[in-house]
């Protein structure tokens, strides 16, 4: 009974088109199927595929999943079924030596794991998980580094449960070891389990899945009143409620699971919310991101060798990816289950790094309230939390400025267009939202802000008459404005972007009503300049003009043109404005947005949603010039 008892026939990809080198690759191996029985293996693989793809969250992760069928013929049909374990006593010479009766338990169906891994590696070197399908209608299966299951009804559930262990490190959520009558499993007394779906921690504020627990849900949600026995009562809350349910990790008490039931607790039920998120977080980063076409991508460099990128998926999920010079791109992941408001151009995630080990992010949620979350190097990501009860325009942008590291100022538009602000200070926490000087923004306009000094803010927006307005705040004088820097008439949904090349200089960029790309400036010595068209440029309707400054005498602009191509120009003193040029052949969409950041002076990173809806990036380096566009995923 060995590899002499059969032949590897060949490999067929039965699902997926993801690049193999960055995909979740499932390999199904045949055992106990003779040459003439290969069609039965093919059918079994098709049945697995149906079950697999029908199991959330796999049903939503298809772009990053491939499934391969490796046909292997065996000398005999079936598997060993030892009489000592209650079987028929049948023996079968098969390629992977499948046998029921492991550890004298008939249902424990095992095979030669090493052979299975080596065949899978030879056939699909990039495989992620291996499942051996055994040609027997006797119920059985097992887990471990590979999953094994038979053709008996429902055995695919074993494969899905075991993949939870092998591929994602999920723990068993059942509250017993040997069915519930065992001893020594009353109360868990070990440390905090490392697995993401069980915990010994009943503190709501530090619970590892606190982001998924609704504020109205009691924690613990269900406690076991008799730790000598498994708690077999019905759930006190609706199915799907995430909370803290006592009894998990082989113990009746002291260990908790996130939901009442889960596929890691019982076969035949869905994965719980937390396990679904863990699976999603493992597979999703392998895929590219389909972004909302007109929602800006935001990028922050906490330090020069690191980028944090924030985007919104086309279904509204709040997503992030990061790049580090040492490890490349990490892959996209969803931020604490967040969904951004779908209105307007779609609320972007705005982000700021008050210091190198901390991020604060903001968006408008589906209830049109402002939400925030933070990441700290010491504690990871927090859950999203609402900031006050302000109702925003659907799809509003929340712009944020840190005048100093312990302070944030936020700006957005209320549902009726009022320009609103609040602040957070490390000493006093969040303030209430307030209406800034009676200002009202045009429909779709954003409120941009800049802090030239720690004690000064400048605000810009487009008013209901489609003119550019500004206001300013100074620590000594308070709020002043609104006033019009010139008489430019804009598109109503224009963004007025602003950069300060040095503290006493502002450069403004926006689009006129006919799409012309316009700029003006303010200087402490000379006051406001006049609006002028930048190098005859015209922007796609709804596209903002992104500006960065790398030196005090240099500006770089990015925009989507009327042909939807991505254009750039620069200004340099001396020399003035260059002509617009297409960046590496890049094409976006009508109203698309281009984000740019310079983490070191001779380098620019650029991001956009391409014409195919996928998030792309490119870069410019002073030594090598412009690179080609690449799809942002995992390195």
């Amino acid at each position: 009974m060995s590899t002499a008892d059969g032949t590897v026939i060949g490999t067929t990809q039965i699902f997926g088109s993801a690049p193999r080198n960055r995909a979740f690759n499932v390999v199904l191996l045949a055992d106990g199927f003779r040459q003439a029985e290969q069609a039965a293996f093919d059918s079994a693989c098709a049945a697995f595929l149906t079950a697999f793809r029908g199991t959330p969250p796999y049903d939503e992760l298809s772009p990053a999943i491939n499934v391969f069928r490796v046909n292997v013929s065996s000398t005999d049909s079936g598997a060993d079924d030892p009489a000592a374990a209650g079987g028929t006593g049948a023996t079968a010479n098969t390629y992977f030596d499948a046998t029921f009766g492991g550890n004298n338990i008939r249902r424990l169906l095992i095979c030669n794991n090493s052979t299975a891994l080596q065949v899978a590696a030879a056939q699909v070197p990039e495989f992620t998980v291996v499942l051996v399908v055994v040609n027997s209608t006797i119920y059985g299966g097992s887990g471990g580094t590979i999953g094994t299951y038979s053709l008996a009804g429902g055995a695919t559930e074993i494969a899905l449960h075991e993949m939870g262990h092998t591929a994602y490190g999920l723990a068993d959520e059942y509250p017993y070891y040997a069915g519930g009558n065992e001893t020594g499993h009353d109360t868990y007394s070990g440390g905090e389990p490392t697995q993401p779906n069980v915990t010994a921690n009943s503190n709501r504020n530090t619970l590892k899945w606190r982001w998924a627990v609704a504020s109205a849900t009691q924690v613990p949600t269900m406690s076991n009143p008799d730790c000598a026995h498994v708690d077999s009562r019905a759930s006190p809350v609706a199915a799907g409620t995430v909370g803290l349910f006592e009894g998990a990790f082989y113990f009746h008490c002291g260990a908790f699971r996130p939901e009442y039931d889960c596929k890691m607790r019982n076969l035949g039920v869905p994965f719980c919310r937390i396990c679904r998120q863990v699976i999603w977080n493992r597979i999703s980063p392998l895929a590219t991101l389909q972004g909302r076409a007109r929602t800006p991508i935001n990028v922050v460099a906490r330090y020069p060798e690191h980028l944090d990128v924030f985007g919104v998926a086309n279904d509204g999920r709040t997503m992030s990816n990061w790049w580090d010079q040492n490890s490349g791109w990490a892959g996209w992941f969803q931020l604490a289950g967040g969904i951004a408001s779908p209105g307007g151009a779609g609320s972007p995630i705005t982000a700021i790094a008050r210091y190198a080990g901390h991020l604060d992010i903001f968006t408008v949620g589906t209830d049109n309230r402002v939400y925030s979350a933070w990441w700290d190097v010491s504690s990871g990501w927090s859950a999203w939390f609402p900031i006050g009860n302000l109702q925003c325009r659907p799809g509003s942008t929340v712009n944020v400025v840190a005048r100093y590291s312990d302070h944030l100022d936020l700006f957005t538009t209320a549902s009726d267009g009022r320009v609103m602000s609040t602040w957070w200070d490390a000493r006093t926490g969040w303030a209430n939202w307030f209406h800034v000087l009676g200002g009202v923004a045009a429909a779709g306009a954003t409120v941009t802000a800049i802090a030239r000094y720690p004690f000064h803010l400048d605000l810009f927006t487009v008013g209901t008459d489609n003119r550019v307005y500004s206001a300013w705040w100074d620590e000594r004088a308070g709020w002043n404005g609104w006033f019009r820097p010139g008489d430019l008439t804009c598109r109503p949904n224009s963004t007025v972007n602003v950069v300060a090349r040095f503290p006493d200089q502002l450069d403004l960029f926006t689009t006129a009503s006919d799409g012309r790309i316009m700029s003006t400036w303010w200087n402490a010595r000379g006051g406001w300049g006049t609006w002028f068209q930048v190098s005859n440029g015209v922007a796609s309707a709804g596209s903002a003009v992104t500006a960065i400054t790398r030196y005090s005498n240099h500006l770089d602009l990015f925009v989507v043109g009327t042909d939807n191509r991505i254009y750039s120009t620069w200004w340099h003193d001396p020399g003035g404005w260059a002509s617009w040029f297409n960046v590496s052949g890049g094409v976006s969409q009508t109203g698309g947005q281009v984000s740019a950041l310079s983490r070191v002076t001779e380098h620019i990173d650029v991001f956009t949603v391409g014409s195919d809806g996928i998030v792309y990036s490119t870069w410019w380096d002073g030594a090598t010039g412009w690179a080609g566009w690449f799809q942002l995923a995992i390195t």
């Binding site: 580094t145 070891y177 490392t194 493992r282």
Partner: protein
């Protein structure tokens, strides 16, 4: 997009190990082009098994977790939905496992590590500096080391 730049090709090595009781053998080393995630050395190692790549001087380069190997029990699944999944002790674990490690240019060998659970995770921690491991600190044990090359090698140490 009109043009797309090829990402740098990921370079990795798939390792397949066999184990029986305390014996561990590296039976396959296979270069493979695929992304590897979760190899960050800065992460605090949780209890469990890991494969760590090291350079010729013994400096760790990356560390990947080993899942579902050396299990002291096996899961037995019910035939009928709703019946409990149970576990049964495995007297002497045996089997095989695979990991994919980044193919760092200066990687010379891989080491199989076991991070043991804290001796008493709820014990009070000492207030001053310690000169030896104290209760509450995970203990790291090297189980085996193998040179990184294309041929199969026996363990150098245990």
């Amino acid at each position: 997009m009109d043009s797309a730049q090829e990402q740098p090709r990921a370079s990795a090595i798939r390792l397949i190990f066999e184990y029986e009781g305390d014996e561990v053998r590296l039976v396959s080393q296979q270069p493979v082009d695929m992304v590897v995630t979760g190899f960050d050395l800065t992460q605090v190692p949780h209890p469990g098994h890991y494969v760590e790549s090291r350079d010729a001087g013994g400096e760790p380069l990356n560390r990947v977790p080993v899942r579902e190997a050396f299990e002291a029990s096996a899961e037995v699944f019910p035939e009928q939905p709703g019946e409990p999944i149970t576990r049964i002790d495995v007297p002497e674990p045996r089997g095989a496992f695979t990991v994919v490690v980044p193919a760092a240019a200066d990687a010379a060998r891989v080491v199989l590590l076991q991070v043991l659970p804290e001796a008493d995770p709820r014990a009070a921690r000492p207030s001053g500096p310690a000169t030896s491991p104290t209760a509450g600190e995970p203990q790291v044990v090297e189980l085996a080391a193998f040179p990184l090359e294309t041929t199969t090698e026996e363990p150098q140490s245990r």
